[in-house]
């Protein structure tokens, strides 16, 4: 187990280097000399330019620039945002927290909804209820996240049920931490539900197929034949084995959810990574784009790693081999 995790961690290194190199190349090939642009911009102080010049070697060859940038990145220094005039790290830290909260919230909700329903429908495969659920899952898969987000925003703007945009509407200094938490969750609810609605269908289908597959295996049949009670067959024999592939899915979902979350964040006005990179692209804020891109890739890699470790933890076949 330890060996496997260590091996996966070592495999990460070339991946991270490759990823950062691609991000660097993409940003470098964008048009215009942004160093010159920075000098022209009266809003950026000469000291900032000077420190970035030293830190990032902006007047040195590309390869040196890349290595310097990599070195700075290891120290979590992503440079300074041109548009906000604060370090990219500060911006990303704030936005990343929101995006991760959103992702975890919608992941938890959609798993809690999808898994029981999938087992329920899988056990009654081919019945009317199963067909209804499958149809709903189809609708959910085909719904584009931005469209659902727009519908939610429309609905909420008509009813004013929940707050829209931002993360808080309480600004009193002496507000209790519970009130602040409640406020945050209320703001999280709209984008969270949108994402959940878009994801739940795919999860349901995957889980249902897994469940049906394990439900038709010989050992489940053997359990039936030995007269094991129904609940025990479903939950102990079939469900536990059907869950294994889902851990890989969990890892991959983290990346998938970043994609869906980005558009949802932008439309619902949730200040996360998605809206950050959009603002950065629109204002041509190159270091911010680069930082967001690297962090998003990093999140995806970490997601896959978590999935791999979880499946190794729960599935002895993989742990041993």
């Amino acid at each position: 187990m330890k060996k496997l995790v260590l091996k996966r961690l070592l495999q990460l290194i070339p991946m991270l280097i490759g990823m950062s190199f691609v991000s660097f190349i993409i940003i470098q090939s964008s048009p215009g000399d942004y160093f010159a642009q920075m000098k022209m911009n009266p809003e950026i102080s000469p000291e900032t330019i000077e420190s970035m010049k030293v830190n990032f070697g902006l007047d040195r060859p590309i390869l040196v620039q890349y290595l310097l940038w990599l070195k700075n990145m290891c120290k979590l220094d992503f440079g300074v945002s041109f548009a906000y005039h604060i370090p990219v790290r500060t911006l990303i830290k704030f936005r990343l927290k929101n995006t991760i909260c959103l992702a975890i919230f919608s992941l938890v909700i959609s798993w809690v909804i999808a898994l029981p329903l999938a087992v329920f429908a899988g056990y009654r495969e081919g019945t009317f209820i199963d067909k209804i659920f499958s149809m709903l899952a189809y609708l959910s898969i085909s719904l584009p996240s931005f469209f659902v987000a727009l519908l939610f925003v429309y609905f909420i703007s008509k009813t004013n049920l929940l707050p829209l945009g931002g993360t808080r509407s309480i600004f009193e200094v002496d507000a209790s931490s519970f009130a602040l938490f409640k406020d945050y969750m209320e703001h999280l609810l709209v984008p969270g539900l949108v994402l959940c609605l878009v994801n739940v269908g795919g999860l349901f289908r995957l889980m249902k197929n897994n469940f049906i597959e394990t439900f038709n295996t010989p050992y489940v049949l053997a359990a039936w034949a030995r007269g094991v009670p129904r609940n025990s067959v479903i939950f102990k024999h079939a469900l536990r084995n059907a869950l294994n592939p889902m851990f890989t899915i969990l890892g991959m979902e983290i990346g998938g959810i970043l994609n869906g979350a980005a558009l949802t964040e932008i439309i619902c006005g949730w200040p996360g990574m998605g809206s950050l990179i959009l603002e950065a692209v629109l204002s041509h804020d190159l270091y911010l784009v680069m930082g967001s891109l690297v962090i998003s890739g990093f999140l995806l890699i970490v997601g896959n790693l978590i999935g791999d470790i979880l499946i190794a933890f729960f599935d002895p076949r993989i742990r041993i081999s």
Binding site: M15, V22, S23, Y138, P144, F146, L150, G274, L278, S296
Partner: protein, 352 residues
């Protein structure tokens, strides 16, 4: 091909229906010039955010007309954009009306459209936007852009994926290693972030044809990696087959073996994969245009029709019919998904 259709029909009626539905949809957007009552940038400046026009059969006197008709509308409240109907004159719906000349794909000219009403009344089946442009017409024209981008994008990324996957799988060794590492690195990025970063490589204000090509390029650059990996896996197993060994021992050049002996055996997978991946391209185009980074005004696409509603609750509340673009996307996606699923089952050798 006919056998495939028959099998699809036997396997799943809804999927067969989806196929025809999609064909009709493509047909309609291809001939938008004839079918749309207005040109996509024709503006009715006195009718912004006009709700969908009511089509009547009974006039205000209660008399029945066999030919449906509309009333002209005048703006009632210029602030809240409410309209009232002017009952003094009826404007019957006319078919094959003639109007300003339009060109169908630069080749044919047409002066007649499927339907329309006389000015100053307007027939806005799905309402109008802030410039008073007919949303129904813009949706038809927009479908042409959105659907063609997805088809061209799929085609390019498929060719790329086939070539790289085929080469990597067939030759193996160091070429395989290099290509697959490249693919893996591309797949590390969440596609939305990669899409936006690639867009950041280019200036924001490009001409419409440049933007069109750029979107196609970005989408296919993102899409090919996953395909290449799967094709490589298939080629790896196919190249061990006896007939490939036979072809090789006959001294056929590598490209011929790849093209005539290996690729045809990946086709059944490819057809499914194409069908399943089209929705991703439609969403990608819509997302870029929605954020103002894609197709620019006055050209319509399903994404940029929606874009005026973003972050603007007023517009969304005043003109919810703009959301119909989302329904168009949704309907096309669900049909592609249905068709793709059925194709996967039909083409799977396990089910023969």
């Amino acid at each position: 091909m006919r056998r495939l259709l028959q099998r699809l029909k036997n396997h799943s009626r809804p999927a067969y229906f989806s196929l025809w539905f999609l064909l009709v949809f493509y047909f309609v957007s291809f001939f938008a010039d004839i079918l749309a009552p207005y040109h996509f940038d024709q503006q009715f400046r006195n009718k912004p955010y006009h709700p969908p026009t009511k089509i009547h059969f009974f006039d205000s006197g209660g008399n029945f007309h066999i030919r449906p008709f509309v009333y002209n509308t005048v703006i009632d409240d210029p602030v809240f954009k409410t309209y009232k109907q002017d009952y003094s004159k009826i404007y019957p719906l006319k078919f094959f009306v003639s109007g300003k000349e339009r060109r169908i794909f630069f080749f044919f000219k047409t002066k007649r459209y499927l339907f329309g009403v006389d000015q100053p009344a307007g027939i806005f089946l799905f309402g109008t936007d802030n410039y008073g442009r007919d949303i129904f017409s813009r949706l038809l024209y927009g479908g042409r852009i959105s659907l063609s981008i997805s088809l061209i994008g799929v085609f390019i990324s498929f060719s790329l994926g086939m070539i790289t996957g085929g080469i990597a799988g067939y030759f193996g060794g160091i070429i395989d290693q290099i290509l697959m590492r490249l693919v893996e690195i591309l797949m590390v990025f969440p596609s939305f972030y990669l899409m936006l970063s690639l867009r950041a490589m280019f200036p924001l204000n490009l001409s419409s044809i440049q933007v069109y090509l750029l979107i196609v390029m970005i989408l296919s650059l993102i899409g090919w990696a996953g395909l290449a990996r799967i094709i490589r896996g298939m080629v790896l197993s196919i190249k061990e087959e006896d007939y490939v060994l036979a072809a090789r021992s006959l001294g056929l050049p590598h490209w011929k073996i790849l093209l005539f002996h290996i690729f045809p055996n990946t086709f059944s997978y490819s057809i499914t994969a194409i069908t399943i991946s089209v929705p991703g391209y439609i969403i990608g185009e819509a997302a870029l245009s929605l954020l103002g980074l894609g197709i620019q005004e006055p050209y319509p696409s399903w994404g940029n029709i929606l874009s005026s509603t973003i972050g603007n609750l007023r517009v969304l509340g005043d003109a919810p019919w703009l959301l119909l673009a989302g329904i168009f996307i949704f309907v096309v996606l669900i049909n592609f998904n249905l068709l793709g699923d059925a194709l996967r089952n039909v083409l799977d050798p396990k089910n023969w």
